[in-house]
């Protein structure tokens, strides 16, 4: 299942945030991305601009939050380069996905979210 499809199915019962963090493979890095060429944003406004571009290009409706320039979200969740988490309504961690790219599994997140919703 793709992220957008998961969001479409569960948006009435769960909140979703896509948290835009530091670029993993920008221009000038050891392995720059080939599918898109992006400079590492140097200011919060630049980071917001790339987040807007990415969200539009990938056709994601998921509300976007932008990580601060000192990367507080990526650090707190050890989320670089990508990762999935679910918080329960008690604001505790209900699901911890593996670190991307290998550990990033929408299927596992969807299963955990379904189990959480069916338990209620």
């Amino acid at each position: 299942m793709r992220l957008q499809a998961a969001y479409d199915q569960f948006r009435d019962r769960a909140d979703f945030y896509w948290i835009y963090i530091r670029e993993a493979h920008p221009i000038g890095s050891r392995r720059p991305a080939r599918h898109v060429r992006i400079e590492q944003p140097k200011t919060f406004d630049q980071r917001s601009a790339v987040a807007t571009q990415c969200s539009g290009d990938l056709k994601l409706d998921i509300p976007v939050l932008v990580d601060g320039m000192d990367d507080p979200a990526a650090r707190a969740y050890a989320a670089f380069p990508d990762r999935l988490y679910i918080l329960g309504p008690d604001s505790r961690v209900a699901f911890q996905g593996g670190r991307g790219p290998r550990g990033f599994s929408v299927e596992e997140m969807t299963k955990a979210l379904a189990e959480l919703l069916l338990r209620k």
């Binding site: 998961a6 769960a14 670029e23 898109v36 932008v66």
Partner: protein, 131 residues
Amino acid sequence: MNRICLIATLTTAITIVAQELSPAFTLFRLLDEDRNRTLSAAEWGRILQPADFTKVDADKDGKVSPFEWRDFIRPSGGGGRLGGSSRPGGDGGPTVGQPAPALKLKALKNNQLVDLTQVRRPTVLVFGSYT
């Protein structure tokens, strides 16, 4: 000839069983309460969008078969950024049961601060970048 038919049938059966045990069918199995390998509208509507049931039920027989589910789910695997094999948990970060780390982030849409220690319902956090 009979042997060829038997092998073909067995291969098809193994393929179907393997497919239904795959991660893409995890949610299907969770929702299939009566274990009849189809989803009724009621089973679907337990947590999925009721309006989508009729769209996914392509042959309009009132249930979603594994084949219809496969078309609906279109697994994201196969090397795409949003697919990949499983390596759940580990590698740092808060673990299940721990409180959400103190964190307030700005929403792109309206610049409002969102406090991720004050969620009201299950909240999925998708961390990532463009590259």
